[in-house]
Each structure stands twice: as C-alpha cells, then as structure tokens.
C-alpha cells in the first residue's frame, strides 16, 4: 500500500522534507551514531506531529521543539542500557599514526563521541556544534552552569586523549 502525500497537517510534510537531513545529523551527533541519530530524529518529529497544531503556527519554532525532544530522549537513554549501540572498546591509537594511515576521520569522531557518557556528549554537541552558550545549555538541560563547564571539560579531555585533535590539526595544515 502506498503512502498518500498531502494528507497531513498543513506544513508538517514541508517541514520534514526541508529539515530532515539536518535534524538527523543533529541526532547522529547526540547519539554518536548515524542510525541511532535517525531514530532520535524520528522520535522528535513524531512528537512534533502530535503537537503540530501549536508548532505549525507562525511563531511555533518546530525545529527547536524537535531538538528539545531529541535532547531529552538522548539524556534519558543515558539512564537505560543502549541496547542497539555497540560502543567501541578502544579507539585506534591515532596519535602514533600519520595522516596517510588514518581511517576515515568522521568514523573516528563518532567512535569518540560514543565513548563519552551521554550527558557529556550532549553538552559537547550543544556547545560546539549548535553554538549554544554555557548558560543556554544549562537552561536547556536544567542543570547548573558549573555542571555544563565540568561536563564540557571532561568531554574535551576524553577527546584529547583519543588523539583526534592532533590528527585533525595535521589534516588542516
């Protein structure tokens, strides 16, 4: 059975069609995995569907709502076993490798993200990818600014230890 187009709430399909890729990318970073990121994106978009009568208004800000749902889902997943995820036990020791030997950098970045606890990963993504201030992240997550600082610091330290920054710097020279 085919799926009918144009029978949904006004504007919802256009919003999904236009923003799906970016929302999935945000989810992939939150989850540290592209497949799980798409699951997160779909959960956010389903929630948006249910609330579209409000979100579809001119000042509805549907993407902000979807992202908030995704963040909360990612944080809740922290408290559950993440059954679909197989975390990498050990990252390749990239610090001793030259650029020519390096495997795909984006794969290593996702592996590095997966090794972080979800609360640190979420803070990292919001701060450095979504470009949110520490205060904005604190408000989004309902934690103190000091907590954001400490989670950021720990996340950066973990990524630094993985050697990703060294490789990235070499590549951009």
């Amino acid at each position: 059975m085919g799926l009918l187009r144009g029978a949904g709430p006004a504007g919802y399909e256009d919003f999904v069609a236009g923003r799906y890729r970016e929302i999935v990318r945000f989810g992939a970073l939150l989850a540290g995995d592209s497949r799980l990121g798409e699951d997160l994106a779909q959960e956010g978009l389903i929630a948006a569907y249910r609330s579209w009568s409000r979100l579809g208004a001119p000042d509805g800000r549907p993407e902000a709502y979807v992202r908030q749902v995704m963040i909360r889902a990612a944080m809740r997943a922290r408290r559950r076993r993440w059954r679909g995820e197989v975390p990498t036990e050990q990252l390749p020791d990239t610090s001793r490798r030259g650029f020519a030997e390096q495997v795909d950098l984006s794969v290593q970045v996702f592996a590095g993200l997966r090794r972080l606890p979800a609360d640190q990963r979420v803070v990292l993504v919001l701060r450095f990818w979504a470009d949110a201030s520490e205060a904005e992240v604190a408000q989004t997550l309902g934690v103190a600014v000091g907590t954001v600082k400490s989670r950021t610091s720990r996340a950066l330290a973990a990524l630094r230890a993985s050697g990703l920054f060294i490789e990235s710097a070499r590549e951009t020279l």
């Binding site: 059975m1 085919g2 799926l3 187009r5 029978a7 949904g8 919802y12 399909e13 256009d14 999904v16 799906y20 890729r21 999935v24 990318r25 945000f26 992939a28 970073l29 989850a31 592209s34 497949r35 799980l36 990121g37 798409e38 699951d39 997160l40 779909q42 959960e43 978009l45 389903i46 569907y49 249910r50 995704m70 889902a73 990612a74 809740r76 997943a77 408290r79 559950r80 076993r81 993440w82 059954r83 679909g84 995820e85 950098l105 984006s106 970045v109 990292l124 993504v125 450095f128 990818w129 470009d131 205060a135 408000q139 309902g142 934690v143 990524l159 630094r160 920054f165 990235s168 951009t172």
Partner: protein
C-alpha cells in the same frame, strides 16, 4: 587544541551523515498518525486503570506511625496528609508556579505549570528562579503522571513512590514524589531543597495506602491482556505488542512469578536498570540483576529470574517492529 577544532570535527562528522529514509515526509506522516492512534488507545487504557486502582485505596489518617511526634500542623489535601513544619505557612493556589515559590511554604494546588509564561523575562532570555535551592513543598492534585521507567521506585511508608528529579527549567533543586500504585492523577509532592532537607520534608507526608498484594503471593495481573506497551532505546520511544502469541507469552511469564519479597527486603527499582510494561489495567516493572524484583501497580512484589525484563522487552520490540513494517511497507 581549541574550540574551533572541536567544531570542525563535529561538522565533518555531521556532514558525513546521510539519512536512510528516501521519503522522510511520507514516513513521518505514517509514524505520526500511528503514534496518535496509540496515544488514544493508551488514554483509554489509563482510564480503565484509574477505575480499577482507585477502588482499593484507603485514605490514611494523620497520626500514622512515622508522622507522630513531628512538630507542626497536620493538613490534609487530595488524599495526602502533611505535617507542616513549625514556622512554615500554607498557601492554597490553583496553579502552582515552581519558579516563584516562597521559602518555608507548603503549597496546596490543583495543578502546576511546567514553565509558566510569566516566568520568562520580557524579550526572552534566561529564566532565573528565586525559588531554586530554597526549601519549599507543594502538593499538587494533577500534573505528575506515572512513568513507565521512573528514575526511582522506592518503598516509603509502605507505599511505592515514583521519585524523579523535576528538571524544571530554572529550578533544579526540585524533585517529585507520587504514589506509583495510585490512580493516574494521584496527588503528588514537589519538594525543593538539599537532599537532607528533602528527606526530612518527605518524612512529613503520609500517602494513601497501597493496594494489597494478592493472597497467592504473586503479582496482580489483568485477567486478559490486549496490549503490552513499553519504551525502548535508543530514544525510549513507545513500543507496543498486540499480537496474541506475544501477549500470551508475556502473561504466562508474569503469572509464573510467585516468590513474594518479604517486607523490608524491597530494593530500589531504578529506571536505568528496570523495564516497565503496561498491560492494560496495571503496569509491571521488572528490575535487572541489581534489583531482581518485579512489582505490579495492582499489588504484589516478587523475586524474578535474571534477564526476564530484557526478555519481555525483546518480545515487545520484535512485535512492534513487525507491526510497523506491515503498516508502512508499500
């Protein structure tokens, strides 16, 4: 290392992602509709649960053990009793606003607002709540719902309580407490303060008596199950099983449990380690190896074999996945 390197790395990783859905709008429309249908079914089931669960609840009276001897004034509200500490005041309001709560106040409210619009500064920006970190308490009749995977399920004063950090924007010191075995709209408590103060205030509350465990020693279960709902990682989205084979296996597995946990031997069921399954009139929560016990909101607490929660979760997820495939395939 500088922050622009981090941004660059995240950008590169993000741009490498290509969604697997080739027609996301149609897919999301189908999933959205299905979600709405489920919610309607869920609400109908919840209404049935209210009718069943309300019956065995007997309101406790002030003066029960654990409340005696505490200085203060007893107050009853919404089936809950609280001994208001000396020097505190009570305030009855329609909508409780956690952001503007006054210290040393017990609020009695019909409901509460998650984030009232009047808390947001004109023009937007950060919400700063003066109530954050201050000691206060609110009893609210509506607004804290039972969760399938509560942060904690603790036994307090013989009642099973759902305990969760409220995460209210701007009021991070707030925790919510509500009977897990009560009706959907049971009176709940919001308590703010440091951990010690919250515990002291929680001690002042007397909750309605929980439903009794079945005489058989097992879990109270519905006579017939028409659906089994849980949430599943990664996003903890709702999944549901409706096929008879899966439901029969779930019911049989739960009905076999008959090793009751003696009083005082209950462990804390944590959402991070437990699986909650709604089977119509009741919800069953099964712990993992850290707390190998299961409870039914209809009554009963039993020991369970290792891995049972995971096994039942797997059955529901598989059933849901098969139903989704059938619903969305061309």
């Amino acid at each position: 290392m500088n922050t622009s390197q981090v941004t660059e790395l995240l950008d590169r990783a993000a741009t490498s992602v290509t969604p697997s859905e080739t027609d996301p709008a149609a897919r999301m429309l189908a999933l959205g509709r299905r979600s709405v249908r489920r919610r309607r079914a869920w609400k109908a089931a919840a209404s049935a649960a209210v009718a069943v669960l309300t019956l065995p609840i007997v309101l406790a009276v002030v003066g029960r053990p654990g409340v005696d001897g505490q200085p203060g004034t007893p107050v009853r509200f919404g089936g809950v009793s609280v001994v208001v500490p000396d020097g505190w005041r009570t305030s009855t309001v329609q909508n409780f606003n956690a952001c503007t709560a006054e210290p040393r106040t017990v609020y009695l409210a019909a409901q509460w607002d998650f984030m009232p619009s009047d808390s947001v500064p004109p023009g937007g920006g950060l919400v700063v709540c003066r109530s954050d970190g201050e000691p206060w308490m609110a009893l609210v009749e509506r607004g804290i719902n039972p969760s399938l995977d509560p942060e904690q399920l603790v036994v307090r004063d013989e009642q099973l309580l759902q305990v969760e950090q409220a995460g209210t924007l701007g009021v991070t010191s707030t925790w919510t407490y509500r009977p897990y075995t009560g009706p959907i709209e049971a009176t709940a408590a919001l308590i703010s303060g440091d951990e010690k103060r919250r515990e002291q205030l929680l001690d002042r509350i007397t909750w309605p008596a929980p439903p009794a465990a079945p005489a058989s020693g097992g879990l109270t279960l519905p006579a017939r199950i028409t659906s089994a709902t849980t949430d599943a990682p990664p996003g903890n989205g709702m999944v549901v099983a409706t096929d008879a084979r899966t439901l029969n296996r779930i019911r049989a597995a739960l009905a076999e449990l008959s090793d009751p946990v003696p009083a005082g031997a209950a462990c804390v069921l944590r959402g991070s380690e437990a699986v909650g399954i709604s089977i119509g009139e009741v919800t069953v929560v099964l712990g993992d190896e850290n707390c190998p016990q299961a409870i039914s909101t209809g009554g009963g607490r039993v020991r369970i074999p290792a891995g049972l929660g995971e096994e039942l979760l797997g059955l529901i997820v598989a059933s849901d996945r098969a139903a989704t495939e059938r619903a969305t395939k061309d």
